[in-house]
């Protein structure tokens, strides 16, 4: 008996029946989006895959559809919840019915998406990127670059058409203080699949003239709020860590910081915040200059006051000193004079007294004076006669008076001491 034959439609109809029987419900399925496109009617067509965790090879693949009525509800909810668009590379937890159509084949009709799965998955991916950067020891490299004292020459990575770029330029060009800034735009695609490569290319252009800039500002704003995951990608983050200039980000995120924010020298929320930050840097430098100026003024004032006071005091001192000096010298002179006169006076008078005494003595012993006072001197044979004993009667005696001599002859001699001896 020949085996039964089916037409293709019969077979497919049979499969359809089996599927309907076997998969009557909707199922929660985890899958990754490989491709996605939305047609004019607003229906969304996806290619869903599952990759091997070991080597990224594709283990399963299926078409998926989200009908326009559902898609118009699911998309905004998903994007606002996850901060990412539904696009290639995104992992989903979606609720789908299993569909089979004889003409169009197998597909999954998605009628719900649980964004929390994608949030978790993105967070995990972001964490993986951070871990990798940490492991490679580059996480802090741009953060550790010293921020320039006066950031004026700004390499701006942005899109000229982005509203954020306009805000940024407006804020720094028309700052109230009139600070000078020199922003240079390096255009790049700031969102979407090309963003990472485009931003890296722009950074490379900056790198070629790195000495002409003080810092880099990565500015994005006004675009889709749900298109930030490119700022979590390893390649961009790594490039930022390796960049020799400090990078500031202002990519308009509202939720968690992206990896780019984390590795950048300064991760700020919005382009305007970046511009304000730059203006503040110049303002604080101006304060520093003012304080230096004030310090100098004070120091010089102090020195001048000190020297003026010193001069005044010196002038006063000089007067006092010179007066005192003269007074003291004069006094000293007087004292010296007094002392001198006293010393010499007494010396002279002493000498005078002594001389007078000597003279007196001299006068006393002068024989003339003695004779004048009535004493006389008798000589025998030319010699002064001191004792009576030698005198004989008849001896010729010569008696000297003050004004002449007597020649006489001895008639009698008398001995003193009661022994009157008569030699006559």
């Amino acid at each position: 008996m020949p085996e039964p034959r089916f037409s293709l439609s019969q077979l497919l109809q049979h499969i359809l029946d089996v599927i309907r029987n076997e998969f009557p419900e909707r199922y929660w399925i985890v899958a990754e989006i490989l491709e996605l496109h939305v047609n004019r009617s607003g229906h969304c067509y996806l290619e869903l895959i599952e990759k091997s965790e070991k080597n990224d090879s594709i283990l399963a693949r299926a078409r998926g559809t989200i009908w326009a009525s559902r898609y118009s509800m699911l998309r905004p909810f998903f994007e606002s919840s996850t901060g990412t668009r539904l696009k290639s590379g995104i992992k989903l937890l979606c609720r789908a019915s299993v569909e089979f159509h004889p003409l169009y084949g197998f597909s999954l009709n998605i009628n719900d998406i649980d964004p929390s799965y994608t949030i978790g998955d993105l967070a995990r991916k972001k964490q993986e990127v951070i871990s990798r950067l940490r492991k490679e020891g580059v996480m802090e490299m741009n953060r550790e670059l010293p921020f320039p004292t006066v950031p004026q020459r700004i390499a701006v990575i942005s899109s000229e058409t982005a509203a954020g770029f306009g805000d940024f330029m407006e804020t720094i060009e028309n700052n109230n203080q009139g600070f000078r800034f020199e922003p240079t735009l390096f255009p790049a695609v700031m969102q979407g699949d090309e963003a990472v490569l485009s931003m890296i290319a722009a950074l490379e252009t900056v790198f070629e003239k790195v000495s002409e800039f003080d810092c880099v500002a990565i500015i994005r704003g006004g675009g889709s709020k749900a298109d930030l995951e490119c700022y979590n990608e390893y390649d961009l983050a790594y490039f930022i860590t390796q960049f020799p200039l400090p990078v500031i980000t202002g990519i308009g995120h509202e939720r968690d910081e992206t990896v780019a924010d984390l590795v950048a020298n300064r991760g700020l929320k919005t382009p305007t915040a970046v511009a304000e930050f730059l203006v503040d840097q110049l303002l604080s430098f101006e304060f520093h200059l003012s304080s230096l100026h004030e310090r100098m003024t004070q120091a010089v004032k102090r020195i001048v006051q000190f020297h003026v006071a010193l001069l005044e005091r010196s002038a006063g001192n000089l007067e006092n000193l010179s007066r005192g000096y003269i007074y003291r010298k004069r006094e000293h002179l007087q004292q010296a004079h007094l002392l001198l006169s006293r010393v010499t006076g007494s010396f002279i008078s002493k000498r005078k007294d002594h001389l007078a005494l000597l003279q007196k003595q001299a006068e006393l012993v002068n024989p003339d004076n003695i004779l004048r006072r009535g004493y006389s001197m008798t000589l025998l044979d030319g010699k002064a006669l001191k004792s009576i004993g030698k005198v004989r009667i008849g001896d010729r005696l010569e008696t000297w008076l003050s004004d002449g001599q007597i020649i006489s002859k001895t008639e009698k001699t008398l001995q003193k001491d009661g022994q009157g001896r008569d030699k006559l």
Binding site: T149, V150, Q152, E173, N174, Q177, G178, F179, R180, L282, F285, E286, H288, L289, L292, H293, R295, M296, A299, V300, I303, F306, H307
Partner: protein
């Protein structure tokens, strides 16, 4: 113009070094006067770089004002 090439950091460092000397009061009057004028000059260089020139401000104002025939 060569003098304007001095960087902010170098200028500030020089100012601070001079200020320290001034504050220590070790300078003679002539040197003090010289140092003060150097600080003033450095401050001016910094501020000249920091602010837009009048020409630049005029240009911005011109750009902002409606075009004239």
């Amino acid at each position: 113009m060569a003098k304007e090439e001095i960087s902010y950091d170098k200028a500030v460092k020089e100012i601070e070094t001079i200020l320290q000397k001034i504050e220590e009061g070790e300078l003679g009057v002539d040197e003090l006067a010289r140092k003060v004028s150097r600080v003033t000059e450095l401050l001016k260089i910094c501020r000249d770089k920091l602010y837009k020139t009048e020409a630049q401000i005029d240009k911005i104002l011109d750009d902002a004002s409606p075009e004239e025939p």
